[in-house]
Symmetry: C2
Subunit: 288 residues, 2 copies
């Protein structure tokens, strides 16, 4: 059954305007887009394809977290009596140390929330392609994502209650956080490709450190509206109660595992603005 699926190359050459680009670098970067499903050159459209795939995993992960109640003790800094770390923070720190040991953060698409682990990777280095411009690549908004998730989003998706499954809730939280972080920090790759496609569009705003103009340049209202509408539809499709009976047409409101409007608001108020913030901050350092 797997035979119908083809083996895609995972390191794809970038399609960029070489003549413009050569004034900034003599290196031909390649791009790593692990879940790209295209074997054509990477463009803004193919990056958007990957972002579209990532939407699915964000929606699944929110639905998975919603099966546990809020589980307050996991977020109470006094619960474990550990240097004021909550259970979830202690769990994420320990888990990221293991992930680092097994090589997760060798992939430039992955950013830890607590990068101060000391674990040395057990795995041999893998040649992930490096597309990002090094002085700009360290831009990150992990702290903002962390605070947004725990203070704004989680209370909207988890019902009140305590079922004792604190580790399971924390593990689900981490999966949501990582899916959101990867999606939002993809703004670095998007900004790099936009810049390479037309560097002259950005030069004066970068030199002037003009964030407002850069934000305008990276904004496409039509694309944003499509994304928000699509992610809401995904929450409806993936969060529906699937039975073998035909859906009833009696006008009763369908129940979803996670309210689709919470997911579209998450995108409209947080994911898209934070991605643009990453893009703009990246571009501000693109000529450092």
């Amino acid at each position: 059954m797997a035979s119908s699926r083809t083996n895609y190359p995972h390191h794809l050459l970038l399609n960029f305007s070489l003549s413009s680009y050569l004034i900034f670098s003599s290196l031909c970067y390649c791009i790593s887009v692990s879940d790209s499903k295209s074997d054509s050159f990477i463009t803004i459209d193919s990056l958007r394809g990957s972002l579209e795939d990532q939407e699915n995993f964000i929606v699944y992960s929110l639905i998975e977290r919603a099966r546990y109640p809020y589980n307050y003790p996991a977020y109470d800094p006094s619960y474990l009596g550990l240097k004021n770390y909550s259970l979830v923070e202690a769990f994420v720190r320990d888990t990221e140390a293991i992930e680092a040991k097994f090589g997760r953060y060798q992939n430039p698409e992955e950013l830890p929330f607590f990068p101060d682990y000391k674990a040395f990777p057990l795995v041999p280095p893998f040649k992930f392609s490096q597309i990002l411009y090094p002085p700009a690549s360290s831009i990150n908004v992990s702290r903002t994502i962390w605070d947004m998730y725990f203070n704004k989003l989680l209370p909207l998706i988890a019902i009140e209650g305590d079922d004792g499954n604190y580790q399971q809730s924390a593990a689900s939280d981490l999966i949501c956080l990582q899916a959101l972080s990867k999606r939002i920090h993809y703004g670095r790759f998007v900004a790099e490709v936009k810049f390479r496609d037309a560097p002259s569009d950005y030069l004066s705003a970068i030199h002037a450190k003009d964030s407002e103009t850069l934000t305008r340049l990276v904004t496409s209202k039509t694309v944003e509206e499509t994304v928000i509408e699509r992610v809401k539809k995904k929450a409806e499709v993936f969060g529906q109660n699937v039975t073998l009976r035909e859906a009833s047409k009696d006008g009763n409101e369908t129940k979803y595992k996670v309210d689709p409007s919470v997911v579209s608001n998450l995108y409209g108020e947080w994911v898209i603005p934070l991605t643009k913030q990453v893009e703009v901050n990246y571009l501000l350092h693109r000529l450092d």
Copy 2:
């Protein structure tokens, strides 16, 4: 938006035939079904409701694993040079030790694949209700699930290839394994409730250690066929490519993230038979 959701009690009294049950135990056990969505007494039907919810997470987790290629080095015992552990086994062992430290395995619904970790839970004990009959509760088929997953299932859902994301693949593997293990080992709870509902149905077969009769007693072909059909539909619904366009009616075959027939075969050939094996083995020790 969360206000429309209610706070369900998570420890629900079992509805059982007390007069029959008293011959075996004077204790009134309670049942812990963390993701039960019913506040009525626990019955076979409400356990089936939980199993139905777990189907969703199994399907999501398989789709999530399918976004990475097979990544052979993660499964090669010689890759890390660690006591013949593959990367995935070393990762699962380390991860389960952390999960144990944060209390995961205090919940009798959760079984580790490598229970020989020495981590002492950091978390205070939580009063998970204990429904299982202690001499029978340790029944497990984790090794069979592990072998089935890596030898049979994974090659059907992951395309060939190597993108270097070994830790990410291993983490996705563990999520699939845990979802399958929880589902299959729910057979212990199902067997306990069936036994309590009508102990006299099982007594002679248990005394005679007659696995064949017990298998017949716990089998319902109609239920099994419904489950297999429903899980296939879930793979179609959750694994479809959601766009804002209407689905085309041009007769082209829809592409799913994971082949729905792989998921229905997984249930028909492994999940349901292994669940019944757990039920039968549990019942064989129900009078120990």
